[in-house]
């Protein structure tokens, strides 16, 4: 065994902790430095806590439909926010402990403190009590992540003007909230707060919500937000946020003033590259301040790797984990490279979105000719049975080659369903294979088959197109 290889990792988010475990599985002696809870933003202030809370909203909305389904109950269904937050915290701490247990089982050492490079093989750790230790290693992985930027125009105080971190711990329901930023996080929080019963205004500078998504899905999301009675202000900038005796007044570029109890700032991320010794050691950064790496996840210094948000690629937990594995493989003598062609992603609004590959707009920008197949949830027997009829499957293929270029799903379980399309793309299957493969009935997955059949106008459960 190559047990003599010592690896130091700064940061225990989904990039760092996964790299640590993979390297340890392959025989490395791994030390991870982390000054906050294991699991990073994803587990402690992002993906996991937001899903734990959104699950309550989803359950409540199912119960609100219960009587239509013939299910009777007495009394109202109310959100008990302190209990919701307490449950969310239990989910998070259970998973944080899970990482600690995995670390122990693989003899990964966790040093509590702030890590900094002294040279390309030495890490100094400042512990919370002020003590300092340093240790030498054979390779280093920087996985310091990203954080909430301090934007002078949005003076976050954590109480009235919040980031997602505070919003996830709010134990008193706000009557009204303005969410600045209509991206993934902004839309998820719009669902959360509207689900709690707050008046939500969602402000987005770009002409559409979810501006990076396929435009067709963006407009469907806009409709879903209208169903939730979220006031949408797209193509709108925020001019000023000022505190008032009752909360905040938000002045929009349209001239509209929105008064609310709270503001949630959901714009931008800042790379955590400060005070980790990058300049001292001579690690190169890119124009946005991200750490520059090659496709082996190695920086300009041999043996020093970087993964996760701090390298400024797709800022997604699962991309960080994939990068972490690639870095671990390379250090452990198993050459590996990262590819970003097939990165499935979920947006956990209600209904949710799953996507992989290119949007229709990106396909056209690249000079390719898209062929598009669509199928609606409402035409699926399973969707009707379970009462989840909102949503769309959209398959984009290359009109010339039938190659799958992108798949976009909005509807119940979309973020799970997308993986069939992702695997098809990963193995280079043409769209016709999705149509040809037998799909179990009755399932939501049949929608993907029908959408692929619709590429040739052959979806069975869909009438001929009008026009």
């Amino acid at each position: 065994m190559s047990s003599s290889i010592r690896i130091g990792i700064i940061g225990a988010g989904p990039g760092g902790y996964v790299a640590a475990l993979r390297a340890a599985q392959l025989g490395a002696k791994v030390t991870v430095v982390e000054n906050q809870a294991l699991g990073g933003v994803c587990l402690n202030a992002g993906c996991i806590p937001s899903k734990a809370l959104l699950a309550v909203i989803e359950l409540r909305e199912k119960l609100q439909k219960a009587r239509q389904f013939g299910l009777q109950y007495e009394g109202a269904v109310n959100c008990d926010l302190p209990q919701m937050i307490a449950r969310k915290d239990r989910v998070v701490s259970g998973l944080v402990n899970g990482i600690a247990t995995l670390f122990k089982s693989r003899q990964v050492t966790h040093l509590v403190g702030t890590g900094e490079l002294l040279d390309e093989r030495t890490i100094r750790v400042r512990q919370p009590d002020g003590a300092e230790t340093r240790f030498s290693v054979d390779a280093i992985i920087l996985a310091t992540g990203s954080s909430w930027p301090a934007l002078p125009q949005f003076p976050v105080d954590g109480r009235v003007i919040m980031t997602s971190k505070e919003a996830l711990d709010l134990t008193a329901q706000p009557a009204s909230i303005v969410i600045i930023g209509g991206g993934v996080e902004g839309c998820e929080f719009a669902v959360y707060f509207s689900g709690l019963g707050a008046n939500v205004s969602l402000v987005e500078m770009m002409p559409a919500l979810l501006p990076l998504e396929d435009q067709e899905l963006s407009s469907l999301m806009e409709r879903e937000m209208k169903k939730r009675q979220v006031a949408i202000h797209t193509d709108t900038a925020v001019k000023r946020v000022s505190k008032t005796p009752n909360g905040v007044s938000v002045e929009l570029s349209s001239g509209v003033h929105v008064e609310a109890e709270k503001v949630l700032v959901s714009v931008g991320r800042r790379f955590n590259t400060q005070d980790i010794g990058l300049e001292k050691v001579g690690i190169q950064c890119g124009p946005r301040g991200e750490i520059t790496v090659n496709d082996r996840m190695e920086t300009n210094l041999p043996g020093v790797y970087a993964v996760g948000d701090v390298v400024g690629k797709a800022m997604l937990a699962h991309v960080a984990s994939a990068q972490g594995k690639v870095a671990a493989h390379n250090i452990m003598g198993r050459p590996d490279t990262i590819r970003y062609e097939v990165v499935p992603a979920g947006i956990f609004t209600l209904p949710e979105i799953g996507r992989v590959g290119l949007t229709e707009q990106q396909v056209t920008e690249r000079g390719l000719v898209p062929k598009i197949g669509r199928f609606r949830y409402m035409s699926l027997g399973k969707a009707q049975s379970v009462g989840e009829t909102s949503g769309l499957f959209k398959v984009i293929a290359d009109a010339k080659t039938d190659a799958l270029l992108g798949v976009h799903i909005m509807g119940s379980h979309a973020a799970d369903l997308i993986h069939e399309a992702a695997l098809a793309m990963e193995v280079g299957a043409p769209a016709s294979r999705l149509a040809h493969m037998i799909h179990a009935h009755p399932t939501l997955a049949e929608g993907l088959m029908e959408a692929a059949e619709d590429l040739d106008g052959l979806a069975i459960h869909q009438g001929p197109k009008r026009r």
Binding site: K227, M378, Q384, G387, T389, S390
Partner: protein, 128 residues
Amino acid sequence: MIPSDLKYHREHEWVRVQGNEATLGISDHAQDALGDVVFIDLPKLNASINASQEIGEVESTKATSSIYSPVSGKVTKVNTDLRDHPEWLNQDPYGKGWIAVIELSNPGEVDGLMSAAQYEAFLASQVS
């Protein structure tokens, strides 16, 4: 159920004209074809619209369908209660399910719409 005091559009909207104003909604046939309505995207207040222009959308558990205005004019009232009660479109399409009120800019257009008898014949012709 086709009330005789209303005028009908071929896209299955009705109007009730009172003076210079027309209240509009979707017909009983339309709501029946749609099935359970879950959402209505309402017309914008004060919008100027032309006859046969799409002014909103109805989504049911079976289909999504555009709402067309039978007449031209300005939207002066919108039934915002439908946001909380889209089921009124099914339960009472000619009453509580009214969608908007239009101030007519070309009242003559109303004469071009179908009477109840004509709409009934139109529906019959659609089936065959």
